[in-house]
Each structure stands twice: as structure tokens, then as C-alpha cells.
């Protein structure tokens, strides 16, 4: 990423964040049943989205490494996992606060909480595995294999866990019938939040890779 691209991205993130804050605190009305607590959701959902996106990207770049055997894919996969861990911790904390305020308990192994916790374990395991492998090529290979192997849990987390346990968590934004279960202004705010968080993730991955490249060149 060159300086100009980085600055443009940073400016876009800054503008979107200001728009998001304005929408969340001044435009979005209190939600029925949730009141003002609903505002937490506009930060929590984007954080959870990026946690999942980073996991997908990490596995995807892992597959890229296995196919091409180029260490830059491994660096991208690792960068994505490291950021994913930060986002998943933030999503877990914001979710626990939301849970306490709305249901009265920080943690009750709700299906969504279970899913995010498994994701947290996968990130932790992936990064521990990397730390335990000193040789770069072997580290890249085993990390990529583990990222892809742990990806097999996704259908279970998405389809099976919600059927196994009772959930208090609000329904997905777009429900089973395909209709929108949210007011248009809330939906628009959520989209701004998702775009903002995604751009923050892209910027941080690029920043991390640039720094590693500089360190490697020095």
C-alpha cells in the first residue's frame, strides 16, 4: 500500500466513523424492547462481522499459500488472524455487555455466544500453533492446514448450534423469510457500521503487511 492509497483509505474511515457516530447517537431512535441499548448493536454487529470475515480471509490466504507456496500469503493469513483475534475479543466483550443490560447476565452460552467463543478458541489455537513453530516454511504449511481444517466447523456453528440450544439473541437482521426485520434508518446505520469496520480491517491488514515488509527489508 503506498502512502496516497493509505491516506485515502484513512480519510474514508475517518469520515465513515463520524457519520456512524452521528447516526448512532443522534438519528437512530430507541428500539422497542431494547431502548437505547440498541445503540451497542451498531458497534457489536460490525465487530462480529469482521471477526468472521478475518477468519474466512485467513483460511482463504492459507489455501493460497498451500497452492502457490509463497510466504506473502502466509503473512496475510497471519495478519488476518491476529486482527481477527482482536476483533473477536471486542465483539465478545461488547456482546457480553449488551447481554448483561438486556438479559441480566454477561454470559449464558447462548448459541451466538457459543459460536463467537469457538471462533475465539480457533484464533487462539491458530496463533499458538504459529508461535510454537520456529521454521518459517513449516509454520506456514501447518498454519494453513489448521486454518482450513478448523473451517470445517463453520456449518456446525451456523446451522447446528442454534438448533441445539435455546437462544435469547435477537433474530438475524434479514430473517428466514428474506424480509428485513429492522427499521430502514437502523438498517442504513448498520450498513455504514459494517462498511466502516470492514475498511478498518483492510487498512490494518495492509498496515501490518507494510510494516513486516519494511522490517524484512531492513
Amino acid at each position: 500500500m503506498n502512502l496516497k492509497q493509505g491516506n485515502v483509505l484513512l480519510a474514508a474511515i475517518g469520515s465513515l466513523t463520524l457519520v456512524l457516530l452521528y447516526l448512532v447517537f443522534w438519528v437512530v431512535p430507541p428500539a422497542q424492547g431494547l431502548g437505547n441499548y440498541v445503540r451497542i448493536a451498531f458497534f457489536h454487529i460490525p465487530l462480529a462481522w469482521v471477526s468472521v470475515l478475518a477468519f474466512f480471509m485467513s483460511a482463504g490466504w492459507g489455501a493460497g499459500y498451500l497452492r502457490r507456496r509463497e510466504l506473502r500469503f502466509d503473512a496475510l493469513s497471519a495478519a488476518s488472524a491476529k486482527l481477527g483475534l482482536i476483533f473477536v475479543v471486542l465483539a465478545t466483550v461488547s456482546g457480553a455487555i449488551f447481554s448483561k443490560l438486556t438479559w441480566g447476565a454477561y454470559w449464558n452460552w447462548d448459541p451466538r455466544q457459543t459460536t463467537i467463543f469457538v471462533l475465539l478458541l480457533i484464533y487462539g489455537a491458530y496463533l499458538t500453533l504459529r508461535a510454537a513453530m520456529p521454521e518459517p516454511n513449516r509454520r506456514a504449511r501447518v498454519s494453513a492446514v489448521y486454518a482450513l481444517f478448523s473451517f470445517l466447523t463453520v456449518p456446525f456453528l451456523v446451522f447446528v448450534i442454534p438448533r441445539l440450544f435455546f437462544s435469547l439473541h435477537p433474530s438475524p437482521v434479514i430473517n428466514g423469510s428474506g424480509s428485513l426485520a429492522m427499521e430502514p434508518v437502523m438498517f442504513m446505520t448498520l450498513m455504514v457500521g459494517l462498511l466502516d469496520a470492514t475498511l478498518v480491517y483492510v487498512w490494518l491488514v495492509q498496515k501490518r503487511i507494510s510494516r513486516e515488509n519494511r522490517e524484512a527489508a531492513a
Binding site: 480457533i122 510454537a132 494453513a144 492446514v145 481444517f149 456446525f156 447446528v160
Partner: protein, 223 residues
């Protein structure tokens, strides 16, 4: 000499079995770990009655952690004694994976056969649906064997091998672990066990076997 994949699997399984029986410490460690844990739980309970779900969770925690004492060695031992290279040269990757997976499955079935009757006896468990319990144990052992073999291959050569194995195993095995607890609870008289969970466990086992098979070649063949 070129051999069929089945012959290869059979040979690797037999080699693992002979080596395992010769080096009895690994078997003893695994079985004693399970027995010690079970004794601790039983002593702590002092004959008190437990809910079916709690009993099921305890059974699977014992099985899972005891399996870690045996399943993590399938590649690490070969690496330590230096036979991994010979296996790499003479064995086909898929035959090695499936042979070792079969051996781990056998190991798990022996462990479950050893510990489950003792568990029932010491904790005074009433098994209302024995067929369901047997089915769940077999599928659970299958899942642990499938995931455990690939994870054991991943951790070979790592500097914190044993602890790393359990860290990597848990997230991958949770889709087997959680339905297994629900179904075992049902077999202990704690609610009804949906047959779809059993089918789901079987399907996930199959996914783990196929996934491990597809990914193993990347680990087996060095750059």
C-alpha cells in the same frame, strides 16, 4: 514394491498396533489417566446422585482428556525415534493417514470400553437407552480419531507438543463433543435424544475424515 491402498492401511495399522503393544507405557498412561480422573470424580461425589446432563459431560470430559494422552503420540513417537522418514519414503500418504486414524479409533474404542462400564458402576448411572450410548460412543471416538490424527501430524516437531495438541483439538472437536453430551444425557434418561443429532455427528465425522484426507498431503510431502 507398489501395494494397494487397503494393504497399505492394513500394514500401517498393524505396525502401530505392534509398536503400541511393545511400548505399553502409552496405553497404560492413557488408561490410568482415565481411571484416575474417574476415581477423583467418584470420590468427590461420595455416592451423591448427579443429573444426567452433568454425568454425560463428565464422561466426555474424561474420554476427551484421556484420549489426548494417547492420540497425540501417533506421529510424535515416530519423529522421536527417527522412523518418520522411512514411513515417508515407503508409505503412501493416504495409507499412513488412514492406518494411523484406524489405530487411533481402535485406541479410543478400547478406552471407551474400559472406562464407560466403570463410570456406570462408580457413579451409579442408570443407562435407559444402551443402544444410543453405544452409538454415541462409537461416533464420538470416530470424531476424536479423525481430528486427532491430523492434529497430531500438525503438532509434530512443535516445541510445546503435548499442550499444543489439546489447544488445537478442542475447537475442531466441539461439533462432536456437544451433541455427544446431549445424546449421552438422553441415554442416561435425561430427555429425548434426537436421532438427527446422531446423524449430524456421523456426518461431521465423515467431513473430518475427508478434510483430513484432503489436507494431509500438504503436511506429508515436504517442499
Amino acid at each position: 514394491m507398489q501395494q494397494s491402498i487397503w494393504q497399505g492401511i492394513k500394514l500401517v495399522f498393524r505396525k502401530e498396533l505392534v509398536a503400541g503393544l511393545r511400548f505399553k507405557a502409552a496405553w497404560a498412561a492413557m488408561l490410568m489417566f482415565a481411571l484416575t480422573t474417574l476415581a477423583c470424580v467418584s470420590m468427590a461425589m461420595q455416592g451423591g446422585m448427579l443429573e444426567p446432563r452433568l454425568l454425560a459431560a463428565l464422561l466426555w470430559i474424561i474420554l476427551f482428556f484421556a484420549s489426548l494422552a494417547g492420540a497425540d503420540r501417533v506421529f510424535a513417537d515416530e519423529d522421536t525415534v527417527g522412523t518418520l522418514l522411512a514411513l515417508r519414503i515407503y508409505g503412501r500418504s493416504q495409507a499412513v493417514l488412514m492406518g494411523k486414524m484406524l489405530y487411533t479409533f481402535f485406541l479410543m474404542v478400547v478406552l471407551a470400553t474400559f472406562i464407560t462400564p466403570l463410570f456406570v458402576l462408580l457413579l451409579d448411572v442408570t443407562v435407559t437407552v444402551p443402544g444410543l450410548l453405544v452409538g454415541v460412543l462409537l461416533l464420538g471416538c470416530g470424531g476424536i480419531a479423525a481430528a486427532g490424527t491430523l492434529v497430531a501430524a500438525l503438532t509434530t516437531g512443535a516445541n510445546i507438543h503435548s499442550s499444543l495438541f489439546s489447544i488445537l483439538m478442542l475447537p475442531v472437536i466441539l461439533p462432536v463433543f456437544l451433541p455427544a453430551i446431549s445424546l449421552s444425557a438422553a441415554s442416561f434418561g435425561g430427555g429425548e435424544g434426537a436421532i438427527s443429532y446422531l446423524a449430524g455427528m456421523g456426518l461431521y465425522d465423515l467431513i473430518l475424515v475427508v478434510g483430513a484426507s484432503l489436507l494431509f498431503d500438504y503436511l506429508w510431502y515436504e517442499d
